[in-house]
Symmetry: C2
Subunit: 450 residues, 2 copies
């Protein structure tokens, strides 16, 4: 579970849209707090063939801890929008519903119910904003990271994005999601502490510049970290930088753990650097590349057999720059036992509490099927698991390391045709015949005003 | 000042890249902790003509509070990368340097030193990651919001983005920065509490769907908020929705504060809705639009005179979707009194501690001039103000409301030609002749190995 000090849980209940609370007051006053079922799903985009589901543990932590403090209630009172009866109700508020979700580290597709909340509607609404907020950025970065992993062959990938993430929380989530997606670690020290992710770092241009010479900078760093220095070689001239690293290592009789190149023609420079390192006996020194890296650049460099052993991926990863948001939604599908659907033509939703089944063939995903929750699909594996029952955690959340291992196994079940980072080809889940039939019947009855 | 409960300050010191701390240990061991000057600036992009500087108060709060707790030090010790002497040094760590910055709410341009840190280099490095992290998202969203404001004429703008922001911190910062940029408020309740920003909300589709009919949903909401209901009319059919809102208001004898349209052809639907509201005597009812809104859509609707009184701007605002990150940097320009510059051709930096001057003509910005800190520029207004001196706050930070007022006044000083949201035209700061001369001399001396 997440260390509670990462965010201030006392305050998280107010991290919601005002209308969630005003609607809640209406439900409360009108005695309409019946059980609702909401589905969270991602709408299709031609920029992603699949998504990596991450962020569930953060959501669970929120659901198990949400409460309104006296200070929160005082603020709500001060707005003049809430009555004492309702504020009293919030005083004892806790999440008492059910949470179904696919496991973290599963590969999922658009239009699939990947999280399902079943709770008194006041609760199900109040949690909506945080649920979308935390899942969206988690899935967004996890998916981007997995795309990097998918083309990186056996290269090391490190999250370097903290400084360019959208705020502190995004920086933490980016480290977490990218680690799940096969990255080896992060530069983010707090993510190391909170999540136990391996942390990595080299040196900055400013470090080299603060010294009277590059050579002196390298000497100083290497004398403090003799076994562990990755020399940043491109502050002034990359090839001269490599030569200085070699010079210092020979002079001090130490190994070169590696060099980092942060600019320029990475293919040409890495080849030249490799040659220099090898002929000087530093065959074990790794070459690390950074600066504007994304999955497209990694693929190009890997395809051209650049002698680069690892990549630091920053801005493009943490902002998911080519797709900076997911069109995702959290929709009411049942209320008080009755199916619910929206009719607006473009955004029609499928009603009823659901199950998501996956069918495998030869250990590959053959198809996904969205069914009514009570249906049984032959040969299908149930993807939605019950994590929280009546407000209590009933399924263990694996460690981050276990999720990461599971992710890499899951990724092997994705047919290769869907792994392309440039060609759009995805799996559309089937809707079970029974769910189609009862949805069609419902639509007719709504249209006829029934 | 920011309420401390928004983030956990005990932990913020570790929200940094590992290399900041390993470099710090080298500086510490080698006795190299001399005064450094760093400049924060934004590199040019053809997608923005100007930037709105926001986020300073968040940075100041961090600088005044940064410390390493026992728990933080224990974690660092556990990594095996740090020695006891250095950990002891961190135990008493505080920021004792100077912070120069332009005021929040100033319009700034690429290549301008808008924040300048002068501090012992260990401090100046450790704070780098958070500084960039918090300023980037603040400026990014503030700028996007100001673009919306610039084309919105007198329409109301509300931040609806919390759920699609990249995590919790981004949601808070988006509310803050957009409010500074002329938005009237936010849906984010916590931002209301922490920052004192006005909060707004209507109702959700799920609220309408949870009732047996739209009419019943409207009745229930209006009976709890009789003076204050904005009816969401597009759950089933927008025009029928408007008619239902009118029906309910007449039946209950209440006013319609407004309606919200969240989908479809906003121009046609708002016209039709306006007609219906007017002929039924609801001339005061406002029409509010949401759903995929950005500055381009607002401009189109305003240009076509859509009878829309306000816009809820969400995803596109908080992710700055057409430019999801700024290429910004924090570069060493002086160390121990000596000027510093990087020579890599593409990313060359201008050395020396600086001042930024602005020259006005007829109350409009004529030009900006980057000078050496000690220079005096005739007719120029000094833009970099000393906020923190020797670790102490020496300049008052205005309230958010004051920053907002100042922003809208500042925006009037921007010549109209630069306000286009589609044509790229920007101000490049001049470098003062003296700064050019001493930079050129320095470059020659470095190149000649001097």
């Amino acid at each position: 579970m997440l260390n509670k000090r990462f965010v201030d849980y006392d305050n998280m209940s107010l991290l919601t849209d005002l209308y969630e609370l005003t609607m809640a007051q209406v439900y409360f006053e009108k005695g309409l707090n019946k059980t609702a079922v909401f589905n969270f799903f991602i709408r299709p985009t031609n920029k992603r063939n699949y998504f990596l589901f991450t962020g569930l543990d953060l959501l669970i932590d929120y659901l198990l801890n949400i409460k309104f403090t006296e200070e929160d209630l005082e603020f709500l009172r001060s707005t003049g929008k809430f009555k004492e009866d309702f504020l009293n109700y919030l005083k004892d508020f806790k999440f008492t519903g059910n949470l179904y979700a696919v496991d973290e580290g599963e590969i999922v597709f658009a239009n699939e119910p990947i999280v399902q909340v079943e709770a008194p509607i006041i609760q199900a609404q109040i949690i909506e904003t945080f649920l979308i907020n935390t899942l969206q950025i988690s899935i967004l970065v996890g998916t981007k990271a997995l795309r990097c992993y998918s083309v990186a062959s056996d290269k090391i990938l490190i999250d370097f994005g903290l400084r360019r993430a959208h705020g502190t929380d995004a920086g933490m989530i980016a480290a977490r999601s990218s680690y799940i997606a096969g990255f080896s670690g992060t530069s983010n020290v707090l993510a190391g502490k909170i999540f136990g992710i391996p942390i990595y770092g080299t040196m900055a241009h400013s470090f080299v510049m603060a010294h009277e010479s590059e050579e002196k900078a390298f000497e100083n760093f290497a004398s403090v970290y003799p076994e562990n220095t990755i020399f940043l070689v491109d502050t002034y001239d990359t090839i001269e930088g490599v030569k200085n690293a070699i010079k210092v290592a020979k002079k001090k009789g130490i190994r070169i753990k590696g060099i980092r190149i942060d600019s320029g023609d990475l293919l040409a420079l890495s080849r030249e650097a490799r040659k220099l390192l090898d002929i000087n006996g530093f065959r074990d020194a790794i070459i690390f590349a950074s600066g504007g890296i994304n999955e497209y650049k990694i693929k190009e460099l890997v395809d051209k057999k650049a002698p680069i052993d690892g990549y630091g991926v920053g801005t493009e990863l943490v902002t998911s720059a080519d797709l900076p948001y997911l069109d995702c939604a959290y929709k009411l599908v049942e209320y008080d036992g009755k199916p619910k659907m929206k009719l607006s033509t473009k955004k029609m939703t499928v009603p009823y509490k659901k199950q998501l089944y996956r069918v495998f063939k030869n250990e590959k995903i053959l198809k996904d099927i969205v069914s009514h929750f009570d249906e049984h699909i032959e040969d299908g594996v149930k993807m939605l698991k019950l994590y929280i029952k009546d407000g209590e955690l009933v399924r263990n959340t694996p460690s981050l390391h276990e999720i990461r291992e599971k992710t890499l196994i899951n990724f092997k079940t994705l047919p290769d045709t869907f792994k392309s980072i440039t060609q759009h080809m995805t799996i559309n889940p089937e809707i079970s015949p029974r769910l189609i039939k009862i949805t069609e019947d419902l639509r007719k009855s709504i249209k006829s005003g029934g």
